[in-house]
Structures are given as C-alpha cells and as structure tokens.
C-alpha cells in the first residue's frame, strides 16, 4: 500500500472542474444527439444534418479529450492513499470512462472513414482527411462497435453519477462538492 498520503483539496482546480463539466455536457449531448438521429428523426434532410453535427462535435470532443488527458496525466498527477474498495472502484471507473471515450471517438472516426458515401467530417471549414479505404462490411462493424462502446460508457457514467450522489447524500463527504465549487 502506498504510504504516501495526500489530503484531497476542498475543491479541484478550475481547469480540472471546467474540463470535467464541459466533457460531461458534451458527451451527454453527443449521446442524446446520437440516439435522436438514429432512432427518432425520420426526415432524411434533418437526419443528415444531425449526423454531420454529431460527427463534427464528436471530432471536436476528441480534441477536448486530449487536452483533458494531458491536464490529468501531466499536470495533475497525485498519489492518494488507497482508501479501500470504493476508492479502487472509482479509479477503475474513471480510467474505464476515459478509455471508452477515446475508443468511442476513434470508432466514430473509423465509421466515417469506412463509409462508402464520401462525407468527410467537417470542422470549422476543414474536412478531416480519411485514413482508411471505404469498406461496407467494415463500416457496419465499426458502427456496431461505436454503439456498443456508447452504451457501455453510458452505463459507467450512470455508475459515476450514482457514486457522486452516494458520496454526497450517504457518506456526506466533499467528493461532489470538490467538483462543483
């Protein structure tokens, strides 16, 4: 067990809080958009627009995620003593969420690359280049992977939210407050 203990601050630093909440809103927005564009919208034109929006903001989120991971692993490393099962579970859940976010963004990009319909991801007037050749079967596979990762991530997000509320209302500690103030 790591004997190096560090008392957690009363609040996380502003960049960390900002990146956390921007990510939260962004990811939940993309998930809502994804569900709506796939399952709810029936008009071809609007559906197409929503897909392009999902692709553009998904790609942009990839950039946000890189900034966030850089902040987390380079400027924000801390060693905190192991405080038991919940602590380990939190670390695993956090790392899994980040891993799934990365693979979600990557699989979304792969879907557009494999598409046999040439519709590049459009970001601020720039077309993101495709690094893969169109392949219908691979596209279908990538779509399935993208969806599975999205639902797995959603499950972890729900665990994450549940844990934050558990800390706040049951354990009555500063875990949630740290990210709010």
């Amino acid at each position: 067990m790591n004997k190096q203990t560090e008392t957690l601050p009363d609040q996380w630093d502003a960049p960390a809080r900002f990146l956390h909440w921007v990510s939260a809103i962004w990811v939940l927005g993309l998930m809502g958009l994804g569900l709506a564009m796939v399952n709810l919208v029936k008009a071809s034109g609007l559906k197409f627009d929503l897909y392009q929006l999902h692709k553009s903001y998904g790609f942009l989120f990839g950039l946000v995620l890189i900034v966030r991971l850089t902040w987390k692993f380079i400027f924000h490393r801390r060693k905190i003593s192991n405080r038991g099962f919940l602590h380990q579970a939190a670390i695993i859940n956090h790392n899994l969420m980040l891993l799934l976010l990365l693979t979600l963004i990557a699989s979304g990009y792969v879907v557009t690359c494999f598409s046999i319909i040439p519709i590049p991801i459009h970001v601020f007037g720039w077309n993101v280049p495709s690094l893969l050749s169109p392949d219908m079967l691979m596209e279908q596979g990538a779509i399935s992977v993208h969806h599975m990762i999205a639902f797995a991530l959603l499950a972890l997000v729900l665990v994450h939210i549940g844990a934050a509320l558990f800390h706040h209302f049951i354990l009555k500690d500063k875990t949630l407050i740290r990210m709010l103030k």
Binding site: A43, S44, M136
Partner: protein
C-alpha cells in the same frame, strides 16, 4: 424526365377530349408543377427531393401523337432535399456533379396511348453527359379541361448507375423514383 410525362399527359387529354387537330403548344405552369424524386437507402428513411429550376417545351400533335415532342431540362443544382448540407453532397461530384453537368435533359422519342386517361412516353434522358432511353407512365387529369388546363401525374424510375452515378450503391439504392405533378395550359399561337 417528369416533364416528359407531363407532355404525355397533354397528349392523352387531347386524345381523350378529341381536341382540335394539328400541333399545339402546351406551356407548363411552374407554380403548379412539382418535379420530385425519391431514393431509398438501407437504414435510412427515403430521401425525397424536388428541383426548383426547370423548363420544358411541349409540342403536341393530337392527330398524330407519335409526332408529338417533349423536351425538359432540370438544373440539377436547384435540388432541394430539406438540408443544405445534403443538397451540397447531392450536387457534388459524388452524385450530380452539377458544376460540370448542370442539366439533366429528357427528349421524347415516342408517345403511346395506353388507356383513356393514360399514356406511355419514351425518350432519351441525359444525365452526367450520358444518354439512355427511359420511359414513363402518365395519368391525365382532364378535370380542368373546361378551364383550358390539363393536370398530369407522371411516374417512372431509372437506374442511376447507367449514367455513372454509382456512389453509395448498394447502401443507397440504384433505382431513383420520379414523380411529376403539373398543370399545363395551351399557349396561344
């Protein structure tokens, strides 16, 4: 293409109503004309669109319908599918390539009466610089004949791959359905 059907309709009405003999010029009323298409795709709702910029010339010979002529031009850049982004894609080189081939043209080569209210029209359709024979069925609504107008509904379909438009096949269907509804009136000589 659709305009061709409109023309055919005129012929049908002429045949049906025993209109005056000789060649007549029928003008399309653009406000009453809708040239639309629909394309199916796997896992995607049917994409429906219209063209806003088109023109047509119709010369109908009621005594000798086979000598009647129909010509229609559609400016492919005027396509409207309810999304500027999707329209841009359809106008791009992946589909219409409107920059290099701005028009789709249909010129009739034969018109045949199939019933009292329907005709079958055949003609050459040029798309992406490629020409093939296509045919359409036209239903003629003679209800407006008293007002000197004829209503038409023309339907047909074609395989876009024949014209070199192969993008997205088979996810996006090869067959494109066309429908034209229009009203026409006889132009005074």
């Amino acid at each position: 293409m659709l305009r061709l059907r409109i023309i055919i309709s005129c012929l049908v009405v002429g045949l049906t109503l025993n209109a005056a003999s000789g060649r007549s010029n029928w003008v399309i009323d653009p406000k009453k004309t809708r040239i639309s298409f629909a394309v199916d795709a796997t896992g995607w709702p049917k994409t429906k669109g219209v063209f806003h910029d088109f023109e047509g010339n119709i010369s109908v010979d009621f005594e000798k319908p086979k000598q009647s002529r129909v010509m229609f031009k559609v400016r492919t850049g005027s396509v409207d599918v309810g999304s500027d982004l999707l329209a841009s894609l359809i106008r791009s080189s992946a589909f219409f390539n409107s920059e290099q081939h701005s028009e789709a043209v249909f010129v009739s080569t034969g018109i045949e009466k199939t019933s009292a209210k329907t005709v079958h029209i055949t003609g050459n359709m040029t798309l992406l610089g490629v020409t093939h024979s296509e045919s359409f069925d036209v239903f003629v609504d003679a209800g407006l004949a008293d007002k000197g107008r004829l209503g038409y509904k023309a339907t047909g379909s074609f395989e876009r791959s024949k014209y070199g438009m192969v993008t997205g096949i088979p996810v996006i269907a090869d067959v494109v359905d066309l429908e034209i509804t229009t009203e026409q009136y006889e132009q005074a000589n």
